[in-house]
Assembly symmetry: C2
Homo-oligomer: 491 residues x 2
């Protein structure tokens, strides 16, 4: 590295952008608003995918694949959804380029190859999927349909940031169809639980589960549930959503089924998704001024071992000692890198693996070898200790588990310290500038929510599932309220 | 099923189309030329992906993700590639829809949201990837770059068939950059070997490895290597390609590196890919008039167990016996379905699992139970036998391995029986109508190849790697030739 990262305390936003680039996670591409996810970043995403996919399958879902394009007439069918996404969609209008006679060597759109009907690049797949489900569903025996899709989607965002908001992003989208409202609501809740479990157990990011207010609801949904995480600058990040669609899409696409009792009714639906945005949450929740901090469960490399040596002979001796340790570590499912390259000095390597967030670093030189010890450094606490070589693999195995827990607890404590019950508008104005989750009473109206957003840029992140019944008065209007909601500025 | 499949001998093409639909593999979508890959079909694709991905990683490759869109100016940069794909690409010209004032409730392209530069939906990613590699490569130390991408691509094909040729398809595309021609050629060959191993060991499809003639080469490549498989109608199917790109893309995108010796040179490249087309090959290579025949290594369900029972009590007794068998099968990594639903009769289930290609079916009734036996049916040979329940799980484990081998051998024998050394033009005309691989001498010119294609619809599938040196004369022109190439009609 030529120079250090910007400091979080000085410029959090620059720190994030630089970290994403320097840790080789992603970079901006030649296409406006689209990023290249680099191998190191992608390997973290692959680990996320694998863990989520296993959880989806355990809950009875299977994967399928639906077209990238949505014909305009289908796109239009569910009004609110169409309205929500029309303003920012990529539209395919032609199917051929031809040589530009005016500029030899260049191509132009062939006006003779105009599509009869424009195709929208999917911003989300409810329309194309529900138009397909129509043919799959006749009777209650065809239900439920429990399908997930891993795919790319495009939303023409004007202000983009890597992972957090990009024109194209990768995600999974679950789309289910049910015979009853109750069953669809249960599915909506179940998938929110899956997301919360994934965020907390794999990403080590504590989340608040709750309902979105009407303003923040998915276009076309009856209810949107979400998980909200707190970043280190005190801002919120929506990390996953699960929508109860009611019968909206079934009505828009005329999807009916015959019930056990022989009655014809519209089907009930849900959809739920998480995206590469989770990468942004992962980075911003844990990392520090030295670079990434990755929870072991999602780290592409768990342990790096750096030999400190002068000549080939020393290296051979060290390697001999290290070999069985690597073997034992691998037998525990731990990914190990033994970095014996002589292209860089140990100090450079230490900084590099810190930047990349490798959870455990071990270093060993000739004197260590003679003393039967090895240096073990933790990325999460930046602490070092000297340990006997004897039993080191088992020690590291336990240490990785401890690190996973510690990273989670640190984030949880941070959230606790930055969550406040706020009761007056003055307090609100003061606290919102400092950041954090503001638990406040709200009168339940969209007008008040919009007014608060206008005045402070804060939005209702969610109405928490565990909010207790409590009489109070709205932070802005003083009208009565029965429970607190969470206000925060958000990504 | 309401009625049986069309017979292969009567209408191979209809048989294929119906099989894809009835076995729940895929169906046509509302978008012209695009298909929906249904859960059962997708689960086979997932198994293919997993096996290939493991092999890519074992050979040192990592995954990454590049944008879906290619700006027109980048698309144009490598001339031959641009020419090859311009005729059939989807072009995004606008980034917004708006309400159509003339038709309330409908949307129209917003003329105020025209892109300054059109975006091509990637038909392949060399252009976007090489424009990225330019920034990643300065010195030989940055090489090789060994990256793979799993993605969707779009080629606006006019005549489409599910899996075999669709406007959008799923694939993987490897893109590597090297410091020398030799290294890039070695990579090209290595990846062809990976594909061949995958096709033969997982898909149970024997393939011929070879070089494409200039006519059939990938647009922008110096050499294209391929694997060719024979379908049951004697036609060829190209199942994977690996391209040596020379310095073509490096020159088009100005990608240079400083060599160890301090010399500045263009980088050498390769690209290689297989797609959901493999699903078509898998289906057409093995399946029969009763439905799919799947090699166990790619079958979503390995074993189905159907209890034959009259009442709940019988079912409970049978289940009790079956439980430990299922447990043991699962311990071998075998996927088992115990179909005890009472919605369908056993005969219906037998036909259904035959259609779906489940490799082994077991059936057991009360009398079998008393006799300590169980019926075991193989999908590949359609044979049945009665076996002792004792030791059945271990027997089935071995049986699955035997089935995998048998399916491969059957396909290999079929190919042998339908491969011919053809020496005269009259023989050629006669044999090409009957199908199969025609090993013939060819004078090496594109003119002759085109003429033969015009006259017979046969193309050179490949110049086999193992073709022996042998003097002969071209099948059409009588000019001298040093080895035989394979002509066939192809998908």
């Amino acid at each position: 590295m030529s120079k250090g990262l910007p400091k979080r305390s000085e410029n959090y936003s620059e720190w994030y952008n630089e970290l994403v680039k320097r840790a080789d996670l992603a970079e901006n591409s030649a296409v406006r608003g689209c990023m290249v996810i680099k191998p190191y970043g992608y390997s973290i995403w692959e680990k996320m995918q694998r863990a989520l996919d296993d959880m989806f399958k355990e809950t009875g879902h299977t994967n399928a694949y639906f077209p990238l394009f949505v014909p305009k007439s289908l796109f239009e069918a569910e009004e609110k959804n169409a309205e929500g996404f029309a303003k920012e969609c990529a539209v395919v209008t032609h199917y051929r380029l031809k040589n530009n006679p005016e500029k030899p060597g260049t191509l132009m759109v062939d006006p003779d190859a105009k599509l009869e009907e424009e195709l929208v690049v999917r911003p989300t797949s409810e329309a194309i999927i529900w138009s397909t489900y129509k043919n799959w569903i006749q009777s209650y025996r065809d239900l439920p349909i429990l399908i997930n899709q891993w795919a790319n989607v495009v939303r023409w965002e004007m202000r983009t940031r890597m992972f957090l908001r990009t024109a194209e992003f990768l995600w999974q989208e679950g789309h289910t169809a049910h015979a009853s409202s109750e069953e669809a609501i249960a599915e909506t809740k179940q998938m929110l639980e899956v997301y919360a479990t994934f965020a907390e157990e794999f990403m080590a990011v504590p989340v608040v589960k709750g309902f979105k207010s009407a303003n923040e609801r998915f276009a076309g949904a009856e209810e949107t549930m979400c998980i909200e995480a707190m970043m280190q600058d005190g801002k919120a990040l929506q990390a996953g959503t699960s929508h109860f669609l009611g019968q909206n899409f079934a009505k828009a696409f005329d999807v009916k089924f015959q019930s056990k009792e022989g009655k014809l009714d519209h089907v009930w639906g849900t959809s739920w998704g998480v995206s590469t945005r989770l990468m942004g949450a992962l980075i911003m929740a844990h990392s520090d001024d030295n670079g990434l901090v990755l929870p072991p469960k999602l780290a592409p490399i768990h342990v790096v071992i750096v030999p400190i040596y002068k000549g080939e002979e020393d290296l051979a001796t060290i390697s001999e000692t290290i070999k069985p340790i690597i073997k034992e570590l691998k037998s525990y499912g731990i990914t190990v890198k033994f970095d014996d390259s002589d292209a860089q000095r140990p100090g450079w390597k230490f900084a590099e693996y810190e930047l990349k967030g490798v959870p455990v670093r071990m270093a060993i030189g000739m004197r260590d070898l003679q003393n039967g010890v090895i240096e073990v450094a933790r990325r999460d606490t930046l602490s070092k200790e000297t340990r006997p070589i004897e039993g080191i693999a088992a020690y590291v195995k336990d240490l990785l588990e401890e690190i996973q827990v510690n990273i989670y607890n640190k984030a949880l404590n941070f959230r606790k310290e930055n969550s406040f019950e706020v009761n007056t508008w003055d307090e609100f104005l003061e606290q919102i500038e400092k950041g954090g989750f503001l638990h406040c009473h709200w009168d339940g109206t969209s007008e008040t929510e919009e007014k608060i957003k206008e005045l402070t840029k804060a939005t209702i992140r969610c109405i928490p599932l565990d909010a207790k019944e409590e009489e109070g008065t709205c932070i802005l209007t003083g009208k009565p309220s029965g429970k607190r909601v969470i206000f925060a500025r958000a990504y």
